[in-house]
Structure formats: structure tokens, C-alpha cells
Assembly symmetry: C2
Homo-oligomer: 329 residues x 2
């Protein structure tokens, strides 16, 4: 799927559930075809002989309107008869594969085994779900997030789902990233002159955004054009969801706005934080926009998307050199 990148196009970088919420907001407030989403594939893994791309699927299901609104992952109106029967046969059931969800994995595995690329599959699935946005894996190459813990190295899903993030994190690495190349389309959309904003969604910076930035060429492409706006995953000095706070703590990073700003320093033009953290504005050395970042309702998602797009406008007419000089302004 070739998306025409018209004036006003927005590119979002995201991981799974949290990031996909803002991606949905952007999708709903932008004109059709005006959004591209670059998705983390470091969480991908092989399981039961299937190639599973959790974040890519969460974005596909969310934008395709088939995500489960309550569970936060997987498909709506899902059934679990495969997993039930599989468990009775002695199979592993720790990774909850729903019957409808399984169709995506079987289809993707078939596509990849036949020599197809992951990005092509994302295009096919997007079309099948009627999504008028381009959804791009960060890379077609195999990048695997490995969590180095007190109990040894764990593949991401084993750490995240099977062990429920219990082992203490010592470090996070992205196997294969150094040799990976951005998926076709990724550099195009990032560096295209018609892009008005690049949005780093409020996904976990260390587990969901860093793998994207670890793909050679991708970080540099962010500095090529449009303003880069990150939305902090911290609200009121706490992580909104998932293991972000626990991981930051275990990695010796303070759970606050300053840490997120420091993490993205030199990469972003501005950081969007929640009203609850408004006081952090004075002590943070990147431009800050304060709004409500907690996304409980669909309206929250749309409102935050509009706010982020509007904030990006403030940076759109500055010369790139000025915007990318880094440091405090």
C-alpha cells in the first residue's frame, strides 16, 4: 500500500496498548490517509510455530475497530476454544491466543514463510480491516527485545506475559537491531517534506520506543524534517500502565518528567505532559506542553491527538537547524 503523503501528514511511533490509544486519536482527527504509524516489532516472537507481532496487531486491531475495548489487548467478541483445546492437549497456554486473533498469526506466518515481508503483511491486514492509515513495522528484519534480569535473559514476551514482569530488570537489549534496516516506507514517511508532525506516543520509552530508535537510520530520520513531539507516559509521577515505573525504578531511573525528557533529549522538539505534572515544566530542559494525557475515553484520545497536532504547529515554521540544535531553549 502506497500512501500519498499530503501536506499535513502525521507520523506516529508507538508500541502496543498505550501508544495505540493516541494512534487511534490521531487516526480519528486527521483526514483519511494522513496518518502513518511506525510500530515496534521488538516484542515479536515465535510461539507454537507462529510468528506473532503483538504491537503491530494491537495497532491493526485498534485502528481497524476490532480491538477489545475492555481487555486492552486482542480482539473484540473473541472466543478461546482453540486455547482451551490446545491446553487439553498439553500445549502452552500462558500466551492468550484467541480464536479470531489466531487468524492473524496463521496468515502472517504463512505470508512470511512464503518469503513475504512483514510490512507487506501489515499492508494486507490494513486493507482487509479497512484502515485508511499506513501501518509500518519499524523493520522487516528480526529484532528481538531481550530483558536482562536477575534470573537471566528473558525474551520479551516471556518476561512480560509469562513472568508478568516479576524478575528485576538489569538491562534491556535489542538483538538483531544493529543489522536491521528500516522497513520500506519508514524512512520515506519520516523524512517527507509534507509531514507536519512526528509523534512519539506514550508507550514505554525503554521497551517500546527504544527498539524503534535502535534500528540504524531511524533515529537520524527523525531529525530530517517535521517537529518531533513526544507524549510522556508518566502522569502524576506514576506510569499510567504496565511495568514502566517498575522498570525505571529497577534501572535506577527516577519516575518523573525529567527522566523522560532526558531520555528523548536531542531527539524531540517538545514533550507533552499531564496537568498533574505541570510543575515539572520549570525544571525540564525541553519545551513542555501541558494538557490532559490520560486517555480513558475515545474523546480523551481525540482531544489529546488534537492538542499534540496543534502543539506541533508551533514548531513547524522554525528552521530545522534551530529546532534540532538540542539542549535547553
Amino acid at each position: 500500500m502506497k500512501t500519498e503523503i499530503r501536506s499535513g501528514h502525521v507520523v506516529a511511533l508507538c508500541g502496543g496498548v498505550g501508544g495505540a490509544k493516541l494512534a487511534l486519536g490521531l487516526y480519528r482527527v486527521l483526514d483519511p490517509g494522513q496518518l502513518s504509524v511506525i510500530v515496534n516489532t521488538g516484542d515479536d516472537f515465535d510461539h507454537l510455530g507462529l510468528r506473532i507481532s503483538p504491537d503491530l496487531d494491537t495497532v491493526l486491531y485498534t485502528l481497524g475497530g476490532v480491538a477489545d475495548p475492555d481487555r486492552g489487548w486482542g480482539r473484540v467478541e473473541e472466543t478461546w476454544n482453540f486455547l482451551d483445546a490446545f491446553g487439553r492437549l498439553g500445549g502452552e497456554t500462558w500466551f492468550r491466543l484467541g480464536d479470531r486473533d489466531l487468524a492473524t498469526h496463521v496468515s502472517r506466518t504463512q505470508w512470511l514463510c512464503a518469503g513475504g515481508r512483514l510490512g507487506e503483511f501489515a499492508d494486507r491486514a490494513s486493507r482487509a480491516l479497512g484502515i485508511a492509515a499506513r501501518i509500518l513495522p519499524m523493520s522487516d528484519d528480526r529484532v528481538r527485545t531481550v530483558v536482562e534480569t536477575a534470573e537471566g535473559d528473558l525474551p520479551f514476551q516471556h518476561y512480560f506475559v509469562r513472568r508478568r514482569c516479576e524478575p528485576a530488570v538489569k538491562a534491556i537489549r535489542f538483538d538483531g537491531a544493529a543489522k536491521a534496516t528500516p522497513a520500506p516506507g519508514v524512512l520515506d514517511v519520516l523524512s517527507h517534506g509534507n509531514v507536519r508532525a512526528i509523534v512519539i506516543c506514550p508507550s514505554n520509552p525503554y521497551l517500546s520506543v527504544d527498539p524503534i530508535l535502535a534500528v540504524p537510520g531511524l533515529r537520524g530520520a527523525l531529525a530530517n524534517g517535521a517537529p518531533v513531539i513526544a507524549v510522556s507516559p508518566i502522569v502524576g509521577g506514576q506510569a499510567v500502565k504496565g511495568p514502566t515505573a517498575k522498570i525505571m525504578h529497577e534501572l535506577g531511573i527516577a519516575v518523573n518528567t525529567q527522566a523522560i525528557a532526558a531520555h528523548y533529549r536531542g531527539l524531540i522538539d517538545a514533550l507533552v505532559i499531564d496537568e498533574a505534572d505541570a510543575a515539572d515544566r520549570a525544571t525540564t530542559d525541553v519545551p513542555i506542553m501541558v494538557t490532559r494525557t490520560m486517555m480513558r475515553t475515545l474523546e480523551d484520545r481525540e482531544r489529546l491527538a488534537r492538542d499534540v497536532a496543534a502543539f506541533a504547529e508551533q514548531f513547524a515554521r522554525q528552521p530545522i537547524a534551530a529546532r534540532k540544535a538540542g539542549g535547553a531553549r
Copy 2:
């Protein structure tokens, strides 16, 4: 799973639905552990990246009590959400894979890809389903039934399911059979001195039983010990189900008791036919037993199983040499 072959053990050879009915009857009337079933695997195929063994699964589901009683194939209380979602993604849906059924295929594929044998998987699945009979694939090796038709060669499932047996059959061959070996356990159960009967179930002789007999060593093993009793799939000059009559017609074979007797001549000690064909007794050159072979109810299955076992008794005390001399008696 090692089954102790005690005195009075019965071995059944069968294909899918029709044969599995009698296998179930035998399973219910024999003492636990007294039945072994050798199943056709010529229908097996690779589909959507999965290793599918239709006949093996039909026998497993039937004896495991989870077969759908109305549809004649697949699992009871089945749902189709995988296939529905898969079709929406543009995937092939001609082979109806149910959500629960899929668990068997994913599990088997995983097992085989890890280097396991098909027979081991059948043992595992049997245990999981609580089956007190040994279910053996005819071979762990890849044997593929190919239907040579007026439209060219068709893999069995493509002929049978996708094309609904429409193309005219010119010949049937079993690719890989010549190099296949019987699965571990097959020759043991066939030639064991404690076996009181070998029963060829009323499966399609050309499509379901011939592949079994095509595995080198298997045909010979039938002549090693117990009486071999075949149940004709013909009732009243018609095939009970499936494409048997159409195929026999296309292959230039008359649809009657004599043709079935001729097909199994030299291999069987007796042929069991339906009351509707009782008149064929006089014109058939193998010993004939007449009973009701149509199996509509569970009672039908059990009664036919008892009849077949009783008939085998008549041959049990004859010297093997006398029984295997072949020809008319």
C-alpha cells in the same frame, strides 16, 4: 503409549468417518486396551503452514467422544471464528478448520517440526482425550494420496474437499508409499499372537484402505496371524457414503459385493456384507457373513462390532496356512 496386547486383542484398519464408526463400535464392545486402530495417513496434507491428518483426527475425535455427531467430521461444540477472521484477511477457507480442531493441527505441527514422530503425537493426543485404545498412523513417513483426474493430478484434499470429488478419477496413486515404513507398533500389533481379529473397516477401499496396504511390509503382516475380516462399504449395491460409488464407476469397477471381494482377495478370510446384498453370497468367492452393516446409531456400531468379532471366531482356530491359502473355500 505401549499397549499390552492381551488375548482377544483386535486390530482395525480404517480411514475417516465411515471406518471410524466401526472403530468406535469395537472400542465400546471390547475391554479397555483391547483395540488398536491403524489409520490411513494418505489424506494428510500441509495447509496454512499446518500439518493436517484428517483421518487420524477423525478416529481420535470419535473414540475420544469429541466428534461432532451430526456433521460427520470435526469436533462437537465447534466454533468457526478463526476461519471467519482468516477469510476476512483474504485467506483460504475451503478446508473448514474449526477453532477447537485447530488446536490439534497446531499441536501436531509443533510436535513434528520439533522432530517428533506422527505416531508419538497420536499417542499424546489419545492420552489427552482419555482413549483406552492405541491409535497408530499407518506410517510416520510422508505418504500422499494423489488422485489422477481428467483435470490433472490433485492432492487428495483438493480433490475431496475443494473440488467435492467432481473431477473424473482416472487413477489413484500413493506418493511416497514405496519408501515408507510402517509406524512403530504397526507390525507389532498386526503380527502379535494375542490378536484375535484384524478388521478392515468399511472405509473406501481405494482411497482409505489401499494407502495403508501400500506401505511396504504392512500387507504381508496381515497374513501373519489372526483372521482378517473386511466389512464391505457397499449396501444394496450402493456405497453408503462419500465418493466410493462414483470413483468405482469412473475406475471401471462394478459397484457390488463381488468387486469388493475381488479387491481384498488373498488378503481377507471373510467379507461382511449387508442383508440387502445377501444374494451376493452365492456368487462371491470369499467366505461371506451377512448382517446389518449400515451404522446409523451407536447401537448399530456396537452390534456390527460384536458381529464382526464373533465371525472372526470361526476362523480363529484354523491353522494359519489353511486360512491364508487364498481362493474360494
